[in-house]
Symmetry: C2
């Protein structure tokens, strides 16, 4: 056996304990990081551009005369499109087009203003408007993901955000052409080569050069995550992501190699990533295990994959597909593949997941890059209460209320009764003043 | 002059500085509170019911034999309906019915699953599902607001949440019949008389008696707010609210007494509440000022109103209604009254507000209690990026992707190209394995 991945069985007495050990992951707060980030955020808030320049020199090894010199202009972004290969450019453009088309449907389905009039002629509803300006954090250096640029910027653009400000660190000045090309294709309005907590602080509070935004989205390291948590409230933020996870629910009908590679595709992200297979068929589980052993040696990231699978992976035999669905709901996975001949039979049983990939042809990787739906998904069980990044994250709602004169006569006494009950007499009086009888005697 | 409220004029040279001073408010973090809350949360997480019992005895003066003894059963909730006056009961029921009807429309407008098939027959969409279980925090003691029970529980109920668990402290054992009646009407499934950080921790982690929830909403004091911040990520939370605010945009056509009382109705909440009037008509501003002086002495909460208006209130003369709209957008107020003969003329100019109240008859207090829209709204300028509490806060979305065999042939090469570009070879291989050509040569 090459890979010592855990093989569990729900019928075993010790299953629950072993399962809990595999699932356990908690975002330990690193107080040293928190304190350093607090200092950086306060410094950028107080000193603006000067602080941003200093931290960029210190952490990224980039010396610039001004923050303005760290901005990448539209020309340079467009030029990046010529630097990458034609095949890369076509792939980026095709992916962007599909992601845009999906989020356009999302806008139509759930992002429009609505209103109605009640029987008294009062208007009630909600006005949905885009955010004025958002900041998108894009990691730089080794883990540069142009697909993240698309997944963050495109929904913002579809929502109608006025200005999209992207920040991306360029350690030692190295710019990633694929990332810049993606920014050009996705329609980022301004791009600054700054990163880390200092970039998050600059976006949250604004500096003389970097505009203050209303919301910051996008992944980053522990410093970026801590800075986002710290500025939350001053600006909106998206979820703070934990390690990535895949759960494959298999009935044994998909080629085992495909499932093994899908497990690898999560495991290759990092050693804390989690890949779990749930299947009622012991022979199939053994076939996937054998495929893992056979396919691993050829993978360039074999060491990471092995560490992830051995540390956090599991192949779990369940009593039935129904039980597999129940366990999946307990995990609330980020990515959930239903690798079954009858995905439509199991999908209604699945209540909690960031994204559900149905059928053998739907590898998670197709969704990660280009199927259309967003790849920014809730991790660590937060799919119990949160959702994929979407157009709705770049919009906000304002309630609309226009009470007619007739409506005020009906609502006034109700509001006054409740307001007096809460001891808020001015609330009551404001409602009563709009009553006709009251108006007459005034 | 009885009330020394600031009167400002946008044409004055010192306007900007004076305006900024009025607006300034920042949620100072109280480290002493944070540390005490951290200890309470950790203790409840570790010791469960025993810790909840101890803190409830210490902070609320309520000694109980068990946490189970702190639960209020359905019978006792129903009995509360008989304790309040018939007028109160009718008002609560009428308000609940209108709030329910509005949120039902909201569910129809933006809370339904959707999907489509692309040209390759692949299915794309999102499944929208209610949260399994939510916790609603209701303040107890002096500031007991039955309307908050309705505004939190009704949208959860409309969303289809499986179980609504309400917590409400009862200092010295005093139960508020209006709050219990509201819980009964709004459909809370379980009610525990616990409060403070210990209640938030119990809901976030679960105890032997209090079930773990997926999200916690509802207002509370600094301890509750700090505890919600701390458990965020473990569970979802709603916004952490700052002081309440009203901004009235007036063209001078509404009776000045009405506007004065609307300003009072915000100011009476607490001394940090903010009431601002924007109006281009100096004579009207003077009339409102005079109305404030005339009406204040009769208000039971005159002292609080005066402190709020003098500390944080302002009557601002603008050059025009257009300028008033611009200033309103800078403030992004929680409540925005457009007290004008032509509210429809100004509404399109207003981009940021929690709720917009249109026309002279739409007092904020009608919206606070019974017009239908939610009264839980973004404060402190967060309307720039966040929204009223709604059905959507009690739902989450899962992306649905079912790639057809034909779709996999189109998407595979795109995904593989991008995955290789990011150095994620297993992602690429997982996509390539689904290609027919690849399948043949395997």
């Amino acid at each position: 056996m090459i890979v010592a991945i855990a093989v569990l069985d729900t019928s075993n007495a010790d299953f629950e304990a072993a399962f809990q050990r595999k699932l356990h992951w908690s975002a330990e707060t690193d107080h040293a990081i928190e304190e350093r980030v607090a200092a950086i955020v306060a410094d950028v808030r107080a000193r603006g551009d000067a602080a941003v320049l200093e931290y960029t020199a210190r952490f990224d090894g980039v010396d610039a005369a001004s923050v303005a010199a760290l901005e990448i202009g539209a020309d340079e972004l467009r030029a990046a499109l010529e630097t990458i290969t034609p095949a890369q450019r076509r792939a980026l453009e095709a992916a962007a087009a599909r992601v845009r088309s999906y989020h356009q449907r999302q806008l139509e389905a759930c992002g429009r203003s609505w209103s109605y009039r009640d029987e008294d002629g009062s208007l009630l509803g909600q006005k949905v408007t885009p955010l004025d300006r958002v900041g998108i954090y894009v990691p730089g250096g080794k883990a540069a993901y142009p697909s993240s640029v698309l997944m963050n910027a495109v929904p913002a653009q579809v929502a109608g955000v006025g200005e999209i400000v992207m920040v991306v660190p360029t350690p030692r000045g190295e710019k990633n052409a694929l990332v810049l090309a993606a920014a050009s294709i996705a329609g980022a309005h301004r791009v600054f080569t700054v990163g880390g907590a200092q970039a998050v602080a600059a976006l949250a509070y604004g500096t003389a050069t970097i505009p203050r935004v209303d919301k910051i989205t996008g992944p980053g390291n522990a410093y970026v995550a801590s800075a986002k948590r710290r500025v939350f409230g001053q600006v909106g933020i998206d979820m703070i992501a934990g390690p990535s996870e895949i759960l494959v629910l298999a009935d044994g009908s998909t080629p085992p190699d495909w499932v093994a590679m899908d497990l690898f595709s999560q495991a290759e992200h990092d050693e804390l990533a989690q890949s779990i297979l749930l299947c009622p068929d012991a022979a199939y589980i053994e076939a996937v295990r054998a495929a893992i052993d056979r396919l691993l040696p050829a993978m360039p990231r074999a060491a990471v994959i092995r560490a992830s699978l051995e540390g956090r992976g599991a192949l779990i035999r369940t009593r039935s597909m129904e039980e597999a669905c129940e366990i999946s709901n307990r995990i609330a996975p980020e990515h959930l593949e239903v690798s079954s001949r009858e995905p439509g039979r199991w999908e209604p049983l699945l209540r909690h997941a960031g994204a559900i990939f149905l059928g053998a042809y739907t590898s998670e990787s197709l969704g990660d890059y280009c199927a259309g739906p967003n790849h920014v998904l809730p991790t660590s069980g937060t799919a119990r209460f949160s959702s994929p990044l979407g157009v709705y994250d770049f919009q906000k709602r304002s309630s609309l209320i226009e009470v007619s004169e007739a409506g005020a006569q009906v609502l006034g006494p109700i509001a006054a009764e409740l307001a007096y009950g809460e001891g808020l007499q001015a609330h009551a009086r404001a409602a009563e003043m709009r009553l006709k009888r009251e108006g007459e005697v005034q």
